[in-house]
């Protein structure tokens, strides 16, 4: 590409660099919506029989009471699961996961964590994820898979007994489900904060560029 002239082919290939393709953007926001419904209704369900010595404030729960929370949870789960499944299939099929999230090397992660903490981590090229991003984005996909598997196992502990067995027993699956939620909430805080600190990344997730 040392040519000084720009060929038609190059113009067509690169009209203006698309950072986030349309399918990623659509699925991202559907997921965000479904995830918030799941978390708020999940807190309602948690409050009916808390695992720990606290409950979630009523103002941040969905459904009004346990029955309402369950209705929301078992409605939003379809949106979350179908969208998540489509995302996984497309992510693998298009090679996006491989291209964007791999490799993840310990030395790369260490280097970028250090750079991030000293505010030296650059965000010039949003098409390339740094190692911290790769680790977090790959990690949250794994957490997403775990929370759906434990959730399905708790929904159908007889029909899908092997899912429950995978995590030990029913109460353990509940704890895993809870900690996955906690991990997603922690991710959400960091994710939103950084998106606001690097607004062009937020723009890319809305209009693509």
């Amino acid at each position: 590409m040392a040519s000084l002239t720009v060929t038609d082919a190059q113009v067509r290939a690169n009209p203006a660099k698309v950072i986030q393709p349309a399918w990623v953007r659509v699925m991202h926001w559907i997921n965000a919506f479904a995830m918030i419904l799941m978390i708020l209704s999940g807190w309602q369900i948690y409050n009916a029989s808390p695992l720990f010595g606290f409950t979630f404030p009523r103002e941040y729960t969905l459904g009004g009471w346990l029955g309402g929370g369950l209705l929301w949870h078992f409605a939003a789960m379809w949106l979350l699961m179908l969208n998540g499944l489509a995302y996984l299939v497309t992510g693998f099929a298009t090679g996006r996961f491989r291209k964007k999230l791999l490799p993840i090397t310990p030395s790369g992660v260490l280097h970028d964590v250090r750079a991030a903490l000293t505010f030296k981590l650059g965000h010039d090229d949003l098409t390339v994820y740094n190692y911290v991003q790769r680790l977090l984005y790959a990690g949250i996909i794994v957490v997403g898979v775990l929370i759906v598997l434990t959730g399905l196992g708790m929904w159908k502990p007889v029909q899908l007994y092997y899912l429950v067995a995978l995590f030990g027993d029913y109460p353990t699956a509940r704890y895993v489900h809870f900690f996955c939620m906690a991990a997603i909430c922690a991710f959400l805080v960091v994710h939103v904060l950084l998106a606001l600190l690097v607004p062009k990344s937020l723009r890319a997730m809305i209009i693509g560029r």
């Binding site: 918030i36 009916a48 941040y60 029955g67 078992f74 029909q159």
Partner: protein, 260 residues
């Protein structure tokens, strides 16, 4: 734990009251199903009041019906609930109801009869002595409450499918509908396939002892493939029917199939 006073072995009074309050039916809460009370967060995020409307409630009801159908579709009548050794039994096994144990029905064994109605050949009522003579089996299974907690218990009784056969029930009917002696009248429909599941049981004993009042004397229906609220206690009648007659919790919004 040890210094707390117990009403009966295994029932902690304070926990019991706490549980009762938690599950207390509240007439005002049904209108909150659509989340009117607590949707500040979502309203902020979406910028509109999408969820505080009757259409949201209607949508949720439709999805719940859809979920009933999905659950019935994936229900495998041969899939057995996992069973456990005696050492795994939860002690004490919790008492749970929408009322205090002091308000639990007191049923006189001598006066009690199980009424049988609906699509059956033999509508005779059954005394407890007659029912005790039926062949019985014991299961140690996990009871899972809609609230999320669970406990493993030991139940002994007659498989419901044997009894349905004995009374000549039309097993092509859609439901077996149970009515109970609880105050305010507890009832719950059980879909026929779940009623015919090999582990579904007319339970007369808990931990090899005559079913105590806390767990539903004289008879409870133990359905290890269903959430706890679909395991009625203090049962007084069963009706084989094609009509969906609703249920105490089902009418308030709990998913009707609620099968595991």
């Amino acid at each position: 734990m040890a210094k707390r006073p117990f009403l009966i072995p295994g029932v902690d009074k304070r926990l019991l009251i706490k549980d009762s309050i938690k599950t207390m039916p509240d007439v005002s809460r049904r209108r909150f199903i659509a989340g009117g009370a607590s949707l500040g967060a979502l309203t902020l995020l979406t910028g509109c009041d999408v969820v505080d409307s009757s259409s949201a409630e209607e949508m949720l009801k439709q999805v719940s019906k859809f979920n009933d159908a999905v659950q019935a579709f994936i229900f495998n009548p041969d899939a057995l609930a996992p069973t456990f050794p005696e050492s795994a039994i939860t002690k004490p096994f919790p008492f749970n109801a929408y009322y205090d144990l002091d308000d639990a029905p007191v049923v006189s064994a001598a006066d009690w009869k199980l009424e049988v109605r609906g699509l059956v050949d033999n509508k005779k009522s059954w005394t407890l002595d007659e029912l005790y003579k039926l062949p019985q089996v014991t299961q140690i299974t996990r009871h899972i409450c809609v609230e999320g907690w669970s406990a493993i218990g030991s139940w002994t009784g007659a498989p419901l499918r044997d009894f349905l056969k004995l009374i000549g029930a039309d097993t092509r009917a859609k439901y077996v509908w149970f009515q109970c002696a609880d105050k305010d009248g507890y009832n719950s429909p059980l879909d026929m396939r779940s009623a015919l599941h090999p582990q579904t049981q007319m339970t007369f004993k808990y931990a090899n002892e005559i079913l105590p009042r806390a767990y539903g004397f004289p008879m409870k229906i133990r359905v290890p493939t269903k959430l706890g609220f679909k395991n009625p206690k203090y049962v007084v009648s069963m009706e084989v029917t094609n009509d969906y007659k609703g249920g105490y919790w089902e009418d308030q919004g709990y998913n009707s199939f609620s099968g595991s």
